[in-house]
């Protein structure tokens, strides 16, 4: 693999927004505290960000509460919300390069992918939910006697959204857009590693005409700001994306406070199952991308690759070859495939899993080390000869580390694939319709990709089985989690039909 490539010719925009965004204003935190956000290419400080603590969360919730209880947002027609959201999407499109640069420098993500894919995608997602805002239908019901009954789908209220650092922009709109379309007001905490783009989106939201208090962005740490959100007595719903361990804390805090419903999109150890009839070269490419995309920092990463014995040897050879050609380096360099891990902590965690894998007796086929001596770059790493009870097979590593395992029969593959506490995603590579159908129904996971991977779409819900969480992001399912159902019932007399 190549060494660190130089992307230094890229001119960074100045950082415009570093304070909390509450009630339509950028404000200092009440405590005056700040934290540093770091450039993972170098470990250097990009800028200091106001740090939200409990008091700031209270202020944000107050603003969101007023905006919900007496503001225009939930009271305007869905079509009007849609128009404002559409304007927001247009403003994002006008600022794609700047936002892409913010995410690239803050998260170490590939700049050209952000500019060409992820950031324009946020505008698309906002338009999708804008288009749904005027299509929130209740139902007229069929009671068993002389009653007239119908359901009203009402916005659930003030929602707390806590998003991770791996897709700062996508996660922001995936949570915020359906909540706003539903008519809710929002208090959003971005990850402390990646607060920059969220603040920029908030600025554009205000420009687009989203009323003050409807969208509040409060950067800070999970244990402080996050905990204040999840345990807040005046937040009606929390949607969280992050690790399974933290998800447990979120749910506990919700239970200990006001029993707010939560939706959790958590970790995964997703299988990609490759059958003998697959095109080996394509399968190797797909599996490689399945683990290396976004440096392996993606909850649905295909981190366990099961390959049928007939093509196993050839597959192993090819996937190692491809991994060695994978370019790790500065994410601003367009030739680079993989930037640095997001933080020192993650970087060290991944390296320790690699060491653990070696100690447990797995075979290291390629990679296993850091790249260069600066920043948090890690070589694409592949282990074979793994056992199902090994830590590198059981745990979510959240880095560029693939474990490769041979299997004989469909039944064995299904059993192995399901042998995990997670159930977020799965991939199947086969030409056989029967295998595709059988396996897609047998895998206990929220999304199954057949002959593709990471095939996301605004209209395609995804989320977890088992300890990968509950609730769905994307699609109309995501809208429903921000709605309450109210049944309205009244007697009718002398109705000509029932």
């Amino acid at each position: 693999m190549a060494g660190v490539s130089d992307g230094s010719s890229f001119k960074m925009p100045s950082i415009k927004f570093t304070k909390l965004f509450i009630n339509g204003q950028f404000v200092h935190s009440l405590s005056g505290k700040e934290f540093e956000t770091i450039d993972p290419r170098t470990g250097d400080v990009i800028t200091k960000i106001s740090e939200a603590t409990k008091e700031d969360i209270d202020e944000a919730v107050k603003a969101a509460r007023v905006a919900f209880n007496s503001g225009p947002w939930p009271r305007m027609p869905g079509a009007e919300r849609a128009r404002i959201m559409t304007k927001w999407a247009e403003l994002i499109e006008e600022n794609v390069e700047e936002i892409a640069a913010l995410d690239a420098i803050d998260a170490g993500k590939l700049y050209h992918f952000l500019k060409g894919g992820e950031i324009p995608g946020t505008a698309r997602t906002i338009r999708y939910y804008a288009g749904a805002a005027d299509k929130i239908h209740g139902e007229v019901l069929k009671p068993g006697r002389e009653l007239f009954a119908y359901t009203l789908m009402e916005p659930i209220g003030v929602v707390g959204l806590i998003i991770p650092w791996n897709f700062p922009s996508t996660m922001f709109v995936t949570k915020v857009a359906p909540a706003l379309a539903a008519g809710c007001t929002v208090v959003l905490k971005p990850a402390e590693q990646t607060p920059l783009s969220s603040l920029f989106y908030a600025h554009l939201a205000k420009q687009a005409g989203i009323p003050d208090g409807v969208l509040n962005v409060v950067p800070g740490f999970g244990s402080i700001a996050g905990a204040a959100i999840t345990s807040h007595m005046d937040i009606d719903k929390v949607s969280f994306t992050g690790s399974t361990d933290v998800g447990r804390e979120v749910m506990r805090a919700a239970a200990n406070s006001n029993l707010k419903p939560v939706s959790l999109e958590l970790g995964g150890k997703s299988p990609i199952i490759i059958f003998d009839d697959a095109d080996v070269d394509q399968a190797a490419q797909l599996a490689l991308l399945g683990i290396l995309f976004n440096k392996g920092e993606i909850c649905v990463a295909g981190s366990r690759v099961f390959v049928q014995e007939g093509i196993y040897d050839e597959f192993e050879k090819k996937v190692v070859e491809k991994a060695k050609a994978w370019v790790v380096g500065d994410p601003f360099n367009p030739k680079v495939h993989q930037g640095p891990q997001v933080s020192k902590k993650q970087f060290e965690k991944i390296l320790s899993y690699i060491e653990h894998g070696k100690r447990e007796g797995a075979t290291l086929l390629t990679g296993g080390k850091r790249v260069g001596d600066k920043g948090y770059y890690i070589e694409p790493t592949i282990f074979s000869n793994v056992k199902e009870d090994m830590l590198i097979v059981q745990d979510e590593i959240f880095g560029p580390v693939m474990v490769l395992k041979k299997f004989k029969t469909i039944e064995e593959a299904i059993k192995s694939a399901n042998n995990t506490k997670y159930g977020l995603a799965a991939g199947i590579v086969t030409k056989s319709l029967d295998i595709a159908n059988t396996v897609s129904r047998s895998i206990r996971a929220g999304i199954v990709w057949i002959n593709c991977y990471f095939a996301f779409g605004d209209d395609i819900p995804y989320g977890g089985y088992k300890m990968s969480g509950f609730g769905r992001d994307c699609g109309l399912d995501s809208l429903y989690k921000f709605l309450q159902v109210k049944s309205v019932v009244t007697p009718i007399h002398n109705s000509p039909w029932l």
């Binding site: 698309r124 299509k135 299904i414």
Partner: protein, 544 residues
């Protein structure tokens, strides 16, 4: 609702001689010559309002040819027909006159755009972006469109500019939002089968729209068809061909691929009939009169059995219960009937009033009608412009005479207004009985018929005693009355304490002879989608 200029000819050609409703016999006797309006000066006019000097619309007539395959072209025959200013009966512009050959060319273009073109193969998101861009362009050109609409149709300019154009834009935003949310189902099977439904565009849609809301009817038809990925041949009403051509041009500027939306101007019996009977049109949607709707359905049946959506006539009841606030009820009932010169398929044309408040209601309704400002629709403050054309104008006056002859009491109005154009006085009849022609037929003009009732059961029976079932209005404060009436009335829309609320998401259509199918809302998508069930066996599934 659309009595075409040559409807009588069409009827005599297509329907058997045994057809004899009041409407048909009336229509048979209509003057066919478009110059006939000059001979109707015998009607005297009152002084409810004067039709003074007319404002000349400051808008160019840019497009008068057919729009086929992305290009403006003359009619194959080279023929044109005049489109008139209903304020004067004078010609605005000659317009390309479509006939069989033009329809054939348009269908060929639409077929190619559907079978080969990028449109149905595009992502739904790309389609929705084009619809959104079109809506933006319409907003930019809304002054021009509104002026053209009023000029060609005669509706108040304020109504066109401030109500209809924003609703038009809104409808395209709405349908843009549907494009990427058209869901099939995965379906449970009784055995080991994997079953799913694909919702596919139906193909080439033929759409025939009326003259009373030329732009809004364009949006109701074109919006869902395009959101679903279909291609279109649209025939406009011969009275109002202008705005659709400009709108379709803007659609192409917004990025609509050529051949996806083709607009042909022309008459019903020629261009309309060619479209309805075309063997390569996969779907037909028609809004117009019930009589023409029958012909359309028959032509579809005789040709390729294309499914047909029909949105036809009405004689909608507006029921004022005894607990109603009379002043509010009077205003709403007045609006329900007189809006758009009474040229609404859903007009509240039978005003049923409870006997306890009948006298007061009547007096106030009459006063309100006398206050109605009729005049040049371009003038600010004018509530009512001219009827669309001489045929409608004469038909309305004929019905008024019929009302008088059948001994209904003419409370006010009853005649033309001025000596030029097609203006009709706001007219109110009281003592109207259920069997009178004015209580049975769709008049489609500014003629309010007020009927008295005693109790709810009676008014339900009488309100439903019509061949139509398009809409109904209910005015009451009582939740039980509202609940009973909303279910008992056999109509596609029931407005309670409101009327003519036409949001994009609210479905609209008829029971009985008011039509088939629903437009607007999620229901409208089903008109333009085929459902394909896909079934395959499952081997060793984890569950079924």
């Amino acid at each position: 609702m659309m009595a075409s200029r040559r409807l009588s000819w069409l009827l005599s050609r297509t329907l058997s001689a045994s057809y004899s409703s009041g409407a048909a016999s009336l229509l048979h006797s209509l003057v066919r010559n478009s110059g006939g309006w000059r001979n109707i000066n015998r009607f005297r006019f009152s002084t409810a309002a004067a039709v003074e000097e007319l404002i000349t619309p400051q808008v160019p007539i840019r497009y008068t040819q057919h729009l086929i395959n992305g290009k403006f072209v003359d009619a194959a025959s080279g023929k044109t027909f005049p489109t008139y200013d209903p304020r004067t009966g004078e010609v605005i512009a000659p317009v390309a006159e479509g006939d069989v050959e033009d329809i054939n060319r348009a269908v060929t273009a639409a077929r190619k755009a559907f079978d080969e073109g990028p449109w149905p193969k595009m992502t739904a998101y790309e389609r929705s972006r084009i619809l959104l861009r079109f809506a933006d362009l319409v907003e930019k050109h809304s002054d021009e469109l509104a002026a053209l609409e009023t000029w060609d149709n005669g509706k108040p300019h304020e109504q066109a500019a401030k109500v209809e154009l924003p609703i038009f834009v809104r409808l395209f935003h709405y349908y843009a939002g549907w494009a990427d949310k058209i869901h099939g189902l995965t379906v449970p099977a009784d055995g080991n089968y994997h079953v799913q439904t694909l919702h596919e565009p139906i193909g080439v849609a033929g759409q025939i729209i009326p003259w009373n809301f030329p732009l809004l009817m364009f949006a109701w038809k074109v919006g869902p068809a395009l959101a679903c990925g279909n291609t279109i041949v649209l025939k406009t009403a011969e009275q109002t061909p202008l705005t659709a051509l400009l709108a379709a041009k803007l659609f192409h500027e917004a990025g609509l691929p050529e051949g996806v939306l083709n607009v042909v101007s022309g008459y019903g019996p020629t261009a309309g009939a060619a479209l309805a009977s075309h063997m390569d049109v996969d779907k037909l949607a028609f809004t117009g009169s019930t009589d023409t709707g029958k012909i359309v359905l028959e032509l579809a049946a005789r040709s390729n059995l294309k499914p047909v959506t029909l949105e036809l006539g009405g004689k909608s009841p507006f029921i004022v219960c005894e607990d109603a606030d009379v002043d509010k009820a009077v205003e709403l009932a007045h609006f329900a009937l007189f809006f758009n010169q009474g040229q609404c398929c859903c007009a509240g044309s039978r005003t049923f009033v409870h006997e306890r408040i009948y006298d007061e209601f009547l007096e106030k309704s009459k006063k309100r009608a006398l206050k109605r400002v009729v005049g040049d629709p371009f003038k600010k403050g004018v509530e009512q412009g001219p009827q669309i054309d001489v045929e409608q104008f004469e038909k309305v006056l004929r019905y008024i005479r019929s009302g008088i002859e059948s001994n209904a009491t003419l409370e006010c109005g009853g005649d033309r207004l001025g000596s030029k154009g097609f203006f009709v006085q706001p007219t109110v009849f009281s003592n109207v009985k259920d069997d009178m022609l004015i209580a049975k037929d769709e008049i489609f003009g500014p003629v309010q018929s007020i009927l008295k009732f005693k109790d709810i059961d009676e008014v339900i029976r009488r309100a439903n005693a019509t061949r139509y079932g398009l809409a109904a209005g209910v005015f009451t404060k009582n939740v039980n009355t509202a609940n009973t009436l909303m279910r008992a009335l056999r109509a596609g829309t029931v407005w309670i304490n409101c009327f003519d609320v036409f949001d994009a998401a609210i479905p609209f259509g008829g029971y009985k002879m008011s039509g088939i199918g629903r437009e607007k809302g999620i229901y409208s998508l089903h008109n333009y989608l085929q459902v394909k069930a896909v079934v395959s066996p499952l081997h060793h599934p984890a569950w079924i």
